[in-house]
Symmetry: C2
Subunit: 416 residues, 2 copies
């Protein structure tokens, strides 16, 4: 076996790419335009690795990556259940293996016996985020560590949930700006499971490719709406408090959740055929924002605060009583706020000919009872948008803080 | 309605982006690295549109785009059947609508009453390619125009085809480097169908994101192999003759196929769990190339011609008798060659826990009997790789030449 055949040489190769990326990402020029097939000469010349591929997001840190990381172009969400007989110790060993592999992958390195799917690619902003579902704690003998905040989400009248695609003992969120890097990570983490867990459900999502738009933060969803405009901003005074459990968790929050967050995951199918038949004007009234630029119908630009009391010349509210932005606004929900970090999904078409497409809604908050739950209660009853949506799956996970080198995610829970 | 609310202003916006792309793509600098959420200030600043978004592939031309265009990061394949009662005239009107919409979309413009999903995005190398299946011709009263080359593909012993996801009267291949731009095109083309056609099947695929790797042409598939190394090259003397029907079609090729090509589409599931359990050495012997860099086991680099007669010191063939590259090589198939332009797919996991993932194999040739058919006959019987593959769907389409402004794709067939 030559050195080039030795998988360890792949590791060096990928590590090299990772380092080059860290050092030189900002100055790289994007590859030239396409048009016809490149000539023979072009085949031999390397294409430049741009920031899309070269960017690495550190795995280690106080917080897990994939929460405040800008949403990537691709995601895999995957939930597992503990296999019968798997205990706390087996779960701890799995989380240790997973954390080690995630660290390697996010640095652009290949684990041993790698599938090779991500060979040649930079880390592509890969993040891997681990969470624990309510059902995990009893099975792992950790019932006393179950956070109050993991209480089951209430039933909502508009829910039509598929139990098989809901909940789960363990959850992984994988995000990357390259589809093969994301799939590679999914496979690499799956092969670490051994007999400890079994696949429960898995979903794939997407967002804009970096560089496809010059719009700053917000992406569009499959209804054509800008999504995330009213998200809490890291610069907000109360951002940390709203999104993350404090370093010294308050009453009801176990100590192992210090620096963690809670993820609400909802698969929300959009009734796009009905939605697309609405006029632009009607769509904008349902949302309460202009479609073109996301500006609230109360005036201004996308980032102008929504004025819920603004009245038009004709005496009607500029933003109607059941408009989505009104019902979802923190002002309508005692200040409840969450960091929404959604991906779109499209799994082809259903038997009825409608697109099986919509939003993998992922919302982050320090306490679901002060984030998702009160807002969704309100939306469930009085949101004009809800008749174009079907909540088809739901899950809630406790996502612990990040780990330092040599540690693993969830260690304080599993060895606490 | 203000001018910003007027959908026509979106058109200008998108047109502007398209022009900027055409002029300035090569010089654009990739967006800076990511890391944590951008601060408030960054939200207000436009991110640069890179070549990924700014590149436009012209719709009009002698050939349809999407054949020799570098494979994009995302694809949608969709097949339709003519609705009962829809005739040649209705099909002609549909192809005219589709061509007009495809031209607008590929230029980064929005059609009237647009869904808005691609707002803010550049054309992102969008291509839209139209084809006709064998079953179209009888239904449309055009049986006399059926090309001999559209004869049904033979049965292969390893086929396990799903009829519902195979064949079809009409076919569209959509490719783009942004997932939302691709989905937008799919929806925009679907809404043009009126009552003329009904959806038959639809599949989604992906390749590397441009900039995620510095490797020139070839991408990797989900087995981790470089794919497309031995493709015919545009610089090859016989490239045109092998891939495209000549301007003056020979016997058996109808005149309306001048400048066209035939697309073989196969959904090939990969048995990844079995494959990933093979050692690297075994995988490389099955393929006949090194995984790391695609070099043939007969020596050299990725682009070194394969030496099928090379014998190792131990007397064994360097490339085994049933290695994939040997069985698929033009030298083993009377020079048969096709332009493979595949996408990977991943539709989650099957009920048996195996990944529902593999290759949307798309092969282009002037005559399937001198391209796909003889090669697949050989692979079907003696390819070491075949036991890791399941051909689950199959289709063959006649893809006419491109059209000039004011014309539409298929006009020579539908009005000939």
């Amino acid at each position: 076996m030559t050195s080039e055949q030795d998988p360890s040489s792949w590791i060096s190769r990928r590590r090299l790419l990772g380092s080059a990326g860290a050092a030189g990402a900002a100055g790289l020029v994007a590859g030239g335009a396409a048009g016809a097939y490149a000539a023979e000469a072009a085949r031999e010349q390397p294409k430049p690795l741009t920031a899309v591929g070269a960017t690495a997001v550190p795995f280690h840190g106080k917080r897990q990556a994939g929460i405040t990381t800008p949403p990537q172009a691709h995601c895999h969400l995957v939930a597992f259940d503990l296999a019968p007989g798997a205990d706390r110790k087996a779960a701890a060993a799995l989380l240790r293996r997973w954390s080690r592999t995630a660290q390697q992958l996010t640095a652009g390195e290949a684990p041993p016996d790698d599938t090779g799917i991500a060979l040649d690619a930079g880390p592509s902003s890969l993040t891997v985020t681990f969470g624990f579902g309510r059902t995990f704690f009893g099975k792992a003998g950790l019932a006393d560590q179950l956070p109050e905040a993991l209480a089951p989400l209430p039933d909502f009248s508009s829910d039509a949930l598929d139990a098989k695609r809901s909940n789960g003992d363990l959850w992984i969120q994988i995000g990357a700006n390259d589809a093969l890097v994301a799939f590679h990570a999914l496979r690499a983490l799956q092969r670490e499971t051994g007999g400890t867990v079994r696949l429960r459900w898995q979903m794939n999502g997407f967002n804009r490719t970096p560089g496809a738009t010059d719009r700053p933060m917000t992406t569009r969803n499959l209804m054509g709406q800008l999504d995330g405009t009213n998200n809490p901003k890291p610069a907000d005074e109360d951002f940390e408090r709203r999104i993350f459990v404090p370093d010294r968790p308050a009453t009801g929050q176990p100590a192992w959740m210090a620096g963690g967050s809670y993820a609400v995951v909802r698969r929300i199918r959009m009734l796009l055929d009905s939605w697309d038949h609405l006029s632009l004007e009607r769509q904008e009234k349902v949302i309460g924002r202009r479609k073109s630029d996301g500006a609230p119908l109360s005036g201004g630009t996308e980032t102008t605060p929504v004025r819920l009391d603004k009245v038009n010349k004709d005496g009607a509210l500029a933003i109607g009583g059941a408009a989505h932005v009104r019902v979802a606004a923190p002002a309508s929900n005692q200040g409840a706020a969450m960091l929404r970090r959604p991906f779109s999904y499209h799994d082809g078409f259903r038997d009825d000919g409608a697109p099986d497409a919509g939003l993998l809604f992922i919302a982050w908050q320090a306490d679901p009872m002060k984030g998702f739950v009160p807002v969704q209660r309100k939306l469930d009853l009085g949101d004009d948008l809800s008749r174009f949506l079907r909540h088809e799956a739901s899950a809630l996970f406790a996502v612990p803080g990040g780990c330092a080198p040599g540690e693993y995610v969830g260690q304080a829970l599993l060895e606490g």
